[in-house]
Amino acid sequence: MRPFLAIATALIVAAGSLTVASPSLAQSKSEIVIGVQCDRTGPTQIVGTVYCPGFHDYIALINSKGGVDGHPIKALEIDHEYKVPPAVESYERHKKDGAVTMAIYGTPQIYALAAKLTEDRIPGTSPGFGSAAAADGLRYPYIFPIAATYWSQGAAAVDFVKKQMGGSLKGKKIAYIFYDNPAGREPIEVLEDLATKEAFQLKIFAVPPPGVEMGAQVLDIAQRYRADFVIAHLFGGAPSVSIKEFKRVGYPLRKVVSFVWGSAEANIDGAGGFGVAEGYYVMQFAGVGSDYPVLNEIREMYKKQGKEPPKEMASTVFYNRGVLVAALHVEAIRNALKAKPDGKITGVDTKNGFEKISNFTLGGLVPPLKITNTDHEGGGLVQIWQVKGGKFEKVTDWYAAYQDVVAKHIKESGAKK
């Protein structure tokens, strides 16, 4: 038995080292490496299991078209289970493998890596999470939110409610129900500012972690406070629970608008399906649905390989976000290669590449962001969609609101330092 085991192990080791070695010989121009962090197994796996395949599919599409200026892109992924130490480890591993840009995933992770990214001069993206103050490109030169931060989302939500209320919020009652963690509390200061500005009443309702118990809060909103509109900012399984609870107490879902992490097919399905959530408004930082040219190209690519398109594509909200983040990374690399045609780009070049992204829309899937060296958020654009007749239907086009208020808060948080 023992000699057999030894031989088998030796063979496996040999085979393993061969497969590792072979792909690097294939291409002539140098590979460009992106470090991708992912959570397919941790508390936010409903996002990760769809978001990360979206990321890789876009990279595969770019490579099938010959890469960026002939340079193939390699997206190295490490799953960190939403824990901080593995995120540190995977960051260092990606750095060792020569990553020139990093797609970080998770709020605690981007906080933990912010100092390192800045010291090592590698740009890291935090789409839709992380600190809203990171939109300030001068203060955080290497952190790129590249999607609407929670402050912008809060401002956009108030603007949307205002339009729904017929153009004035004076004397109206708005409830803000949120997951009681730093990310959930972050937009409160912006909302409070807007409450004074627009003269509406704001009441906040905290849902303690793990966010599966909010009967009391919802009942309070619906029957004691009698809110005219609800802004919801929940994560993980909590949005599904909130939809069920609002339904149970008979509060109309067409008076609820959710932030970006309570707005996917998975959240609706968890609440009992699209039939239950009819009327629910959701905010998006990437286009929803499968009707975009880039998604057709991905399906084409799979067809050419003789494969079915992956089932993750059906969950369009998170999948499209993965495509969006990958596309922005590739654009940054493209811009960097334009500035340095020899292909020897570093993190500094991709940082400059990110800051040149402007009006790159990918057929409507990506908002017309304009990322500059001062604004790493790119304008804070969102779309509102609504659950209607079994699917998401677009209600507004890309827009941002109260940018002066958001800018004021970014400035204040910079001054506090």
Binding site: R40, P53, V84, P85, K95, A112, A114, A115, P182, R185
Partner: protein, 355 residues
Amino acid sequence: MIQRECGVLKTTYEADMGLYPLPIAKWTVAALGVVFFLIVPLTLHEYYLSVANLVWVAVIGALGLNILVGYTGQVSIGHGAFMSVGAYTAANLANRLGSPWPVNLLAGGLMAALIGAIVGIPSLRIKGLYLAIATLAGQLIIEWTINHVTFISGGVQASIEVARPRLGPMVLDTQRDMYYFLLVFVVLAIVGTMNLMRSRIGRAFIAIRDQDIAAEIIGINIFRYKLLAFAISSFYAGVTGVLYTYFLGIANYEQFQIGVSIDYLAMIIIGGLGSVLGSIFGAIFVTLLPIVIRYAMEAFGGIFFSPQTVLNLIPNLRLMLFGALIIFFLIVEPEGLNRLWRNIRSYFRVWPFAY
């Protein structure tokens, strides 16, 4: 610690209490010192040092928890929170008063010791699982406080950026600098724990663990020593929190949640309760094993599956393998890796004979 010995031939109390029972022990320690202070940091790539740094942070935390759980027999599920107490104390001091890191480190540790002793008060009345729940309450209360009191958390984001530690004109910002920085404290923690455990205090802890009523009868002040155990253990936790904060450059509320407390408990149970070496083994095991499993699967996964499937399989299989290996090691040796190591050592001491 790692040395072998042959018979018990001690004639004095000094010899019995000696840290190095045999001359070879001194040489082993010296060799380890050379390896970890010179060979490892000067030859390995920064990536490996970053992994080592994560291990060092875990070692200090695990040692601290082992003082409480392994040596004194008081269960705590609140160590993640004690770390956050240290982290936020240091971060606030550094940012508000601009105090240097040694001051912050000490203050963070002392503050955690104070809070830990307070959370430990229920241990005077309750034991075992009940105490575990009481410390769990401590964890949740501290988490809640940091989340809601902006004076402590420095704003609703509950994260405070901290400048890198300085040593004279040198700023410790690379992984290699951090490696030395952390290693010094690992050595201090190990030596501290070993010495603590052969002192009067350490023996009192062990007496309380073995039978607290008997300990009281032989004259140990249970009240004092249980709280002291909580304080010392939390001091380690606080120091871990401060070091982690300096390592990352930020104190963040979500780095010290309940999952961290459970991870540290896992480390000392896998490594071996009530042993210094066990804490080290446990910290290494829990930190390194997922990484090693991933490397192995990255190498072999491509043989059997397509790249997309591999990406999806790796994290899931890794969790399963990690769990399976924990069960495997605990079944092979319920007393942890430390006992396993001792068994191997005693086997080879008489090798090639059976007894």
